[in-house]
């Protein structure tokens, strides 16, 4: 399933990061690599963007960006 389909408080394991070149590389460089555990901390009040915890730190992505990331729900 897509990262953007996870609900608040759910955890997933990253399977694949898609999207265009620059975005994809930036996302990977921030540590969203294949096999990493990612936790959905919360969504912003207007439902976009969302806050995630990866490698022990907090990061935010827009929903459309999160929709490029495939995860396995834990």
């Amino acid at each position: 399933m897509l990262l953007s389909e996870l609900k608040e408080g759910q955890t997933g394991i990253i399977v694949r990061v898609g999207g265009n070149g620059a975005l994809r590389r930036r996302v990977l460089e921030m540590g969203l690599t294949k096999g990493s555990e990612i936790y959905v901390e919360k969504y912003a009040p207007l439902k976009d963007p969302l806050e995630l915890i990866i490698k022990g730190y907090h990061i935010s992505l827009r929903v459309e960006e999160a929709a490029n990331i495939t995860v396995d729900k834990l």
Binding site: G21, R25, K42, P45, H58
Partner: protein
């Protein structure tokens, strides 16, 4: 004996405490400027320690050295071209894994690196233990623990850096990232391919060059093209074969695979050096954030913070503003009485002091505003503001962080445009700069109050409110329009770290605030000075005006005939008439009359066009110009100007058109200077002037002519 000097560069992720360490090392001996050609802040400091002269450079905070953003390009180019003696990588110990990504990239560059494990206390409190000796051994790099905000470990950091700079040893080639077999194969083949073909000394590490070429790094390719000339084609062909082979092998771009593998390498190191004790702890920052970005109270709290910021900036700031204003008046009063009448006195009083004085009084506002911005940034709230607002700003094609500068635009465009520095993407920054002047600044308010108050009396409040809304709507339209034409292409990704909340340090808040305010004083002072002198010259010349009557003689006549009381009123009236005629016949008045036909279709007469021209120095001046041209003195009779306007040819429709024009037309000279500085481009500055003025004319034309067709007056 001459002291030895070393250059030390500080690299690190944003929020790693890099700036705090920089401030601790250099104290107030800092030089803040821009990196050449870009608007990324460059901070430099010089200190003498342990018998060495140390030049410390604070590189922009970046997450990697892949050249995507200007910050990353600036940081990497500095290390490549200026070859600092040592690069200190400041690492957030509580965020080791991600921080090591930049560290591995620095290791691959040919430079002497040293790691500072900063915020060691925070890591400790989170139950994170890092084995520094093991890490130093595994990566073959000196490692030092520091606590930047408590000034701990800084001395040993500098000592280690000096030792490293002094050491003869070659930069260690071992212990760098080792990639998988296929990639390593390609790297070494490419490496020897390049080595065989190179005659002269090649300035970069060959292994690093090979890696970057495999990653298809445009900037490195360009450099190779310049350095090697004809051979570059051969090299690029070889690179293409390798890239194709790797693409087939991994079914993915080599740069993606290599990023993955770097993290794999990092994971290996983490396993060796990091132990986390699993203890249940209260994460204060996380709890605070659950409130501040809460679904229900997040926005109200945000609005409250902004309200406090504005209230303090403009309400509290108005007191020192008044003192400064009194100071300026006092100075000009003293000069008025002590200097003999001369052209120079006129220039000093009406040109320089009036012009610069009208801008300097904003300094308290700017100091306060930047103090709040510094608090927002240093506590980590700024990224939450962006998190809250992004959805709305994204509709205009902007980043959440653009909200703060745009909001500040309602106060004053100068600090607002300077605040766009918090935006990472250059596209976002320029677009925000272009639309910020449409947020009606506080200096335009007196004009609205005069015109709306005169022509719309009871509905004045509503009209002014609608003018503000109109500005916002046009900024949205402009944003969308430019986003789909001039700034085409994908939006900057919103990949943003939300750092833990931190208690800000007063010292760094003050340094932050002062640096930016100093910039305002220095740069703006110069340009405003020139602008004020030009406008003064245009209004003060020519000196020998052919008056329609001899005012002095008229005054003498009055002196002889009238009673005391009548005399005073009659003389004042004559003096005002003289002033009005002088203004009318000055160069400024002539220019105003010459360009008046341009303003005719939007219902503005020559007086209006002169007033608008003088508004170029500062918008408040428009009101006083009207006062001069209609020969009224506001101080004597508050309603005199109103009555004069009502009895003139101006209608409520043309007043509305004038207000809309004021809202949109070219920004004041201080703002233009800021735009020039912050975009770093004359082209964008001119574009901003032309665009805003044509839009102003077009909008005013639609309103005036449309209104006329509809039969409104």
């Amino acid at each position: 004996m001459h002291k030895k000097s070393f250059t030390i560069a500080l690299a690190g992720n944003p929020n790693s405490g890099k700036t705090t360490i920089f401030n601790n090392i250099t104290g107030t001996r800092q030089k803040v400027g821009n990196w050449p050609g870009v608007t990324v802040e460059k901070k430099e400091g010089a200190v003498s320690k342990y018998g060495y002269d140390l030049k410390i450079i604070d590189l922009p905070g970046t997450y990697s050295l892949t050249p995507f953003s200007i910050e990353e390009i600036v940081a990497r180019n500095f290390v490549l071209d200026e070859s600092p003696d040592v690069v200190i990588d400041i690492i957030d110990s509580s965020n080791l894994e991600r921080s090591l990504y930049l560290a591995t990239q620095l290791r691959e560059l040919d430079c002497k690196v040293l790691f500072a494990l900063n915020m060691a206390d925070v890591a400790d409190s989170r139950g994170i233990k890092i084995d520094a000796d093991k890490m130093s051994e595994l990566l073959d790099v000196p490692v030092v623990f520091t606590i930047g905000n408590k000034n701990k470990g800084i001395d040993s950091l500098l000592k280690t850096a000096i030792n490293l700079a002094e050491s003869e040893s070659k930069i260690s080639q071992k212990r760098k990232v080792k990639y998988s077999k296929d990639i390593e194969g390609s790297i070494s083949k490419l490496q020897s391919f390049i080595e065989e073909r190179l005659e002269q000394n090649f300035p970069y590490n060959i292994r690093w060059t090979a890696i970057k070429l495999l990653e298809n790094d445009e900037i490195v390719r360009e450099r190779i093209r310049q350095k090697t000339g004809n051979i570059s084609q051969e090299i690029f062909q070889e690179v293409e074969t390798h890239r194709k082979r790797l693409l087939d092998r991994f079914d993915d771009d080599p740069e993606i695979v290599m990023t993955d593998e770097r993290y794999g390498f990092i994971a290996g190191i983490i396993k060796e050096v990091l132990t986390t004790s699993i203890k249940q702890r209260i994460d204060t920052s996380r709890n605070v954030d659950f409130v501040l970005t809460n679904r229900f109270v997040g926005f109200p709290i945000f609005i409250l913070f902004i309200w406090i910021m504005f209230q303090t900036t403009f309400a509290v700031g108005s007191y020192p503003m008044e003192w400064l204003g009194n100071g300026v008046n006092w100075l000009s009063a003293i000069l008025e009485t002590s200097l003999p009448d001369s052209l120079f006195k006129d220039l000093l009083l009406n040109g320089i002091i009036a012009g610069v004085g009208s801008v300097i009084i904003f300094l308290p506002n700017i100091l306060i505003l930047f103090f709040f911005i510094a608090i927002f940034e240093d506590t980590g709230y700024m990224s939450r503001a962006a998190f809250l607002m992004d959805k709305i700003m994204h509709l205009i094609g902007l980043h959440g962080k653009s909200f703060i500068p745009m909001l500040m635009g309602f106060g004053c465009s100068v600090p607002a445009i300077m605040a766009t520095r918090t935006l990472e993407s250059n596209k976002d920054r320029i677009l925000t700069i272009l639309i910020t002047p449409f947020m009606s600044c506080s200096a335009k308010l007196p004009i609205y109050i005069l015109l709306a108050g005169t022509f719309f009396s009871a509905k004045a409040g509503t009209v002014i409110f609608l003018i503000y809304i109109f500005g916002i709507i046009l900024s949205i339209i402009t944003g969308r329009l430019f986003r789909s034409t001039l700034f085409k292409g994908a939006d900057a990704p919103f990949v943003m770290e939300l750092p833990p909340y931190r208690v800000p340090m007063i010292k760094s808040l003050i340094i932050h605030m002062w640096d930016r305010s100093k910039m305002f004083l220095k740069k703006m002072g110069g340009i405003i000075l020139v602008g004020s002198v030009i406008v003064w010259m245009l209004t003060a010349f020519p000196r020998n005006i052919n008056y329609s009557m001899d005012y002095n003689e008229e005054i003498n006549k009055i002196n002889a005939s009238f009673t005391e009381k009548q005399k005073k009123a009659a003389i004042t009236k004559l003096k005002l008439a003289e002033k009005a005629e002088k203004a009318e016949k000055s160069f400024m008045g002539r220019i105003g009359k010459t360009i008046a036909p341009v303003f005719a279709p939007i219902g503005i007469d020559w007086r209006g066009s002169v007033a608008l021209l003088t508004g170029f120095v500062a918008k408040e001046i428009v009101v006083s110009t009207f006062g001069i041209l209609y020969a009224t003195e506001e101080t004597n009779e508050p309603d005199a100007l109103k009555n004069a306007l009502l009895s003139s040819e101006m209608t409520s429709l043309s007043a509305l058109s004038l207000m809309v024009f004021v809202l949109l037309y070219l920004p004041c000279v201080a703002t233009i200077a800021t735009i020039r500085r912050e975009t770093g481009s004359l082209k964008w500055t001119l574009f901003s002037i032309v665009y805003s003025t044509s839009l102003a004319w077009a909008a005013a034309f639609c309103i005036y002519q449309g209104g006329k067709i509809l039969g409104l007056t």
